[in-house]
């Protein structure tokens, strides 16, 4: 029995050890990018092998953006972080794992693709949801993850806030009341975007899911056009999910060159095409033009315009005892 056990352990360790590429990177990402990075990693590995002759394996870890940042802070050895919003990478940077000016190291705010938020409703839109206003109406069940742990939820919370501000006569107070009314309609807060999507599409809870645009498309593709409709609001927030190399980890592991090549690959035509095919809005104008029929045209505002950047927004809305706590605890 004992011999058998040691035998098993030995063979397991052996087989784990033998299976390893020349270079291994760990990409710690947020929830809805699972399919995107599965494709990116495959394409990049092929390109990297062709160009350098070395095999590369990119391992993935996914979860709510805030939670993932926390894991990296606690020592999860990510070579690159590809999170839902800049603030989560700022948090990691604050603890010294990467330079404070990380967002200037890659083009376009270090966000190789953008996305936005749309509403996924049940087929035929039985509750008649057309715009943000309809989410605040009594009797409408809204599904969104927890802004404390999910990047997507923070984006769409600010999307609702911005919408209310931009309405005629909109003030901070009216925006607060509006967002409060929406969250009063939320029966369950999952920790990440994917959890919320599963709650809505698989467990059939709620009337409307405030979803990342790519999650909404993916749900329709997975479950059939006969089950859900996408409703595009009149105006919504432009989400810029950023990417960064984690200096502390790559310098220790000696993987800086590979990690930088990996992130730059997302900006190439090939990378941009993959992003567009996974329903992320490409930055490259040519690729964007090619896929312009895929993405609904919608008026977008940025976080810098309306909220003065992530640091300000995070502190005011999502920090401990911030506006969200005030709204949700009452």
């Amino acid at each position: 029995m004992k011999r058998l056990l040691t035998g098993i352990i030995a063979s397991v360790t052996l087989s784990v050890a033998t299976h390893a590429a020349d270079v291994t990177l760990l990409n710690v990402s947020y929830d809805p990018t699972r399919e995107l990075y599965a494709d990116i990693n495959k394409a990049f590995a092929a390109k990297y092998q062709a160009e350098t002759g070395k095999s590369i394996e990119i391992k993935q870890s996914h979860g709510g953006s805030g939670r993932q940042a926390r894991s990296v802070i606690d020592g999860l050895p990510a070579d690159v972080v590809t999170l839902a919003l800049a603030y989560d990478i700022d948090e990691v940077a604050q603890r010294g794992a990467l330079a404070a000016d990380w967002q200037t190291k890659l083009p376009q705010n270090a966000s190789p693709y953008t996305s936005t938020f749309v509403f996924l409703v049940r087929k035929g839109n039985p509750k008649g949801i057309k715009d943000w206003d309809d989410l605040a109406k009594p009797g409408v069940k809204v599904i969104t993850p927890n802004p404390k742990t999910s990047g997507g939820a923070r984006w769409n919370y600010l999307g609702a806030w911005g919408y209310a501000l931009k309405k005629p006569g909109g003030t901070e107070d009216s925006a607060k009341a509006f967002v409060k009314a929406i969250f009063a309609n939320v029966p369950v807060l999952d920790t990440g975007a994917r959890g919320s999507t599963v709650t809505f599409v698989e467990r059939n809870v709620g009337d409307v899911l405030i979803a990342w645009e790519n999650e909404a498309f993916l749900s329709i593709n997975e479950f059939g056009k006969d089950k859900f409709d996408i409703v595009v609001p009149s105006i919504t927030i432009l989400a810029e999910p950023p990417v960064a190399v984690v200096d502390k980890v790559v310098d220790k592991k000696g993987t800086r060159a590979a990690a930088e090549a990996y992130l730059k690959f997302i900006y190439t035509k090939e990378g941009q095409e993959i992003a567009a095919k996974n329903y992320y809005r490409p930055r490259d104008p040519e690729v964007a033009k090619k896929y312009e029929n895929v993405f609904p045209k919608v008026a977008l505002f940025t976080i810098d315009e309306v909220f003065g950047g992530w640091k300000v927004a995070q502190k005011k809305h999502f920090a401990d005892k911030g506006v969200f706590d005030e709204i949700y605890s009452q």
């Binding site: 352990i9 760990l26 699972r34 606690d74 020592g75 959890g195 997975e222």
Partner: protein, 291 residues
């Protein structure tokens, strides 16, 4: 499935043996009603979900099922789970035996505190069991700086997963042994020592053989929990695919990626491992009963 149903069927009558029947003396309809309710409850809450898992797993046939189980990430998860279970069960076998021995055979101050402490993992949430290790060994944690300097990875790697599993499954072996050892008392050991046996001889020739079935039983329970632990492991895993995902975590990931068939395929394997444990347990009980 038929195995689980079979054990249920054979076990229910054994609890209403003749001697008891006379004492209870309930009319037959009442007895049947009680048995029926129990069976119905078990069917609804255990058998049906179990059938559903296997049904979903094989919903696209045998080849996709095998494909899901032989996917590199699944294989890595299965290996990791078996390895974590093997290490944590071995550790808890030793710890549990020592703790039970100390408690049952010796008198010392603070004994009741120790008994309570052993039970603690039963009562604290697994999330806490995971978080304590993040607080201790995380980069911002108590030993974080030292570990990083020396390039030792505890959390988000195998050691952390093992630690969390050991903590959660600690009570199983000890809890199984303590009552039995207390009941057996110290007379046999005293006899052995008075006949000239050394401490170790006494332990291996008298104490251990006396508790071997209970020990094996505790190990089986411990193993079942070790393979199935989700909460504590989820906190310390870091969810790196093909590296730090155990089977329960892998099942959740597949489910969240809309790969329901694959998710249930891995779940069915986990359920199968649990069933094997259960059967081993029943066989053991028969042995113990015969002795």
């Amino acid at each position: 499935m038929s195995v689980a149903a079979g054990t249920l069927a054979t076990r229910t009558p054994s609890s209403s043996q003749d001697s008891r029947r006379r004492i209870v003396a309930e009319p037959a309809p009442v007895r049947w009603l009680i048995v029926g309710v129990a069976l119905l409850f078990l069917t609804v809450f255990l058998v049906v979900p179990l059938v559903a898992v296997f049904y979903q797993a094989f919903s696209r046939g045998v080849w996709p099922y095998l494909g899901a189980l032989t996917h590199p990430d699944a294989v890595a998860a299965i290996k990791l789970t078996l390895m974590v279970a093997a290490i944590s069960v071995s550790l808890n076998l030793v710890f549990g035996l020592i703790a039970a021995w100390a408690i049952a055979k010796f008198e010392f101050r603070g004994k009741s505190v120790l008994i309570t402490l052993i039970d603690l993992p039963f009562s604290i949430s697994p999330v806490i069991s995971g978080l304590v290790f993040v607080l201790l060994f995380g980069a911002q944690g108590f030993f974080g700086g030292y570990l990083q300097e020396h390039d030792v990875r505890i959390i988000f790697a195998l050691p952390g997963i093992v630690l969390a599993t050991v903590l959660v499954t600690f009570p199983f072996v000890a809890r199984e042994l303590i009552p039995l050892m207390q009941q057996q008392g110290t007379q046999e050991e005293e006899a052995a020592i008075s006949l000239g046996a050394s401490g170790l001889q006494t332990f291996f020739r008298v104490t251990l053989p006396n508790v071997k079935w209970a020990l094996l039983y505790g190990v089986l329970l411990c193993n079942a929990r070790a393979m199935g632990e989700f909460g504590a492991v989820s906190v310390v895993s870091g969810h790196i695919r093909g590296e730090t995902n155990t089977m329960p975590l892998h099942i959740e990931i597949l489910y969240n990626e809309y790969q329901f068939m694959a998710s249930f395929a891995v779940a069915s394997l986990l359920a199968l491992l649990a069933l094997v444990t259960l059967i081993a347990k029943v066989v053991l009980e028969k042995y113990v009963g015969a002795e």
